[in-house]
């Protein structure tokens, strides 16, 4: 199943410079694996060594936060758009 994945901000350079890629997969894990095959190193930017989404990215599948849908096991419904969004954060120190 083909999905559109948006990878804005600092993630753009992990996939060759475009902030929108096409990928296939029925779960978030499969979609990330598909992108990683074409852009080696991508998965390591968004998944930690324990197999969880890194804390500084938020992933939306349509309107749903992937973390509330099982994280990497989250299913991707037909036609959904996936957004992988680097956090917008900072502090005064």
């Amino acid at each position: 199943m083909a999905v559109t994945v948006r990878l804005p901000g600092s993630l753009r350079d992990a996939v060759g410079g475009d902030n929108k890629v096409s990928a296939t997969g029925g779960t978030l894990e499969e979609v990330f694996a598909d992108i990683d095959r074409r852009h080696p190193g991508f998965r390591a930017r968004v998944v930690d060594e324990r197999g969880r989404l890194v804390t500084y990215v938020n992933v939306y599948i349509g309107e749903d936060d992937a973390r509330s849908k099982g994280g990497l096991a989250a299913e991707i419904p037909e036609g959904a758009e996936v957004m992988v969004i680097p956090a917008m954060a900072g502090g005064c120190r």
Binding site: R6, G9, S10, R12, Y56, M88, A89, R93
Partner: protein
Amino acid sequence: MPLTRGAGAGALALPASLRAEIVAHARESAPHEACGLVAGRGGRATRVIRCANVADDPLRRYVMEPAAVMHALRSVQDAGEESADGVEGEPLAIYHSHVYSGPYPSPTDRAEARWPSSFYILVSVRAEEPEVRAYRIRADHPGSEKTVVEAELTEG
């Protein structure tokens, strides 16, 4: 922290009304830090999108509410707006306030900057007269340490 001006940082045109909107947001939120996005095209800001600060310690940190960021980015995509580098679907700028310090990116701001194509606007409301400045915060090469370069800020 080394702060250089100019070279390659570009210029951000921020109309007075939008600057006033950001300052108002910062004042209303104090003592918490305020944050949000600025959308635009061709280096010129056209609208301010406020986002809630959901940091555990909003007196010293900002973390934009993820769902609000997602919706803001969708609206930026739909409008065909562009980042500072002309990347479609990304914010022209990301702003946040400093309540007790000046409008300069802190070590935390630099470490957590993950939007290399956008300007970072810092607004300080520590004094009666607000101070607003804009920067680019990015690594020159993938993996290298990020540098902070102040950008020219005009009223457009």
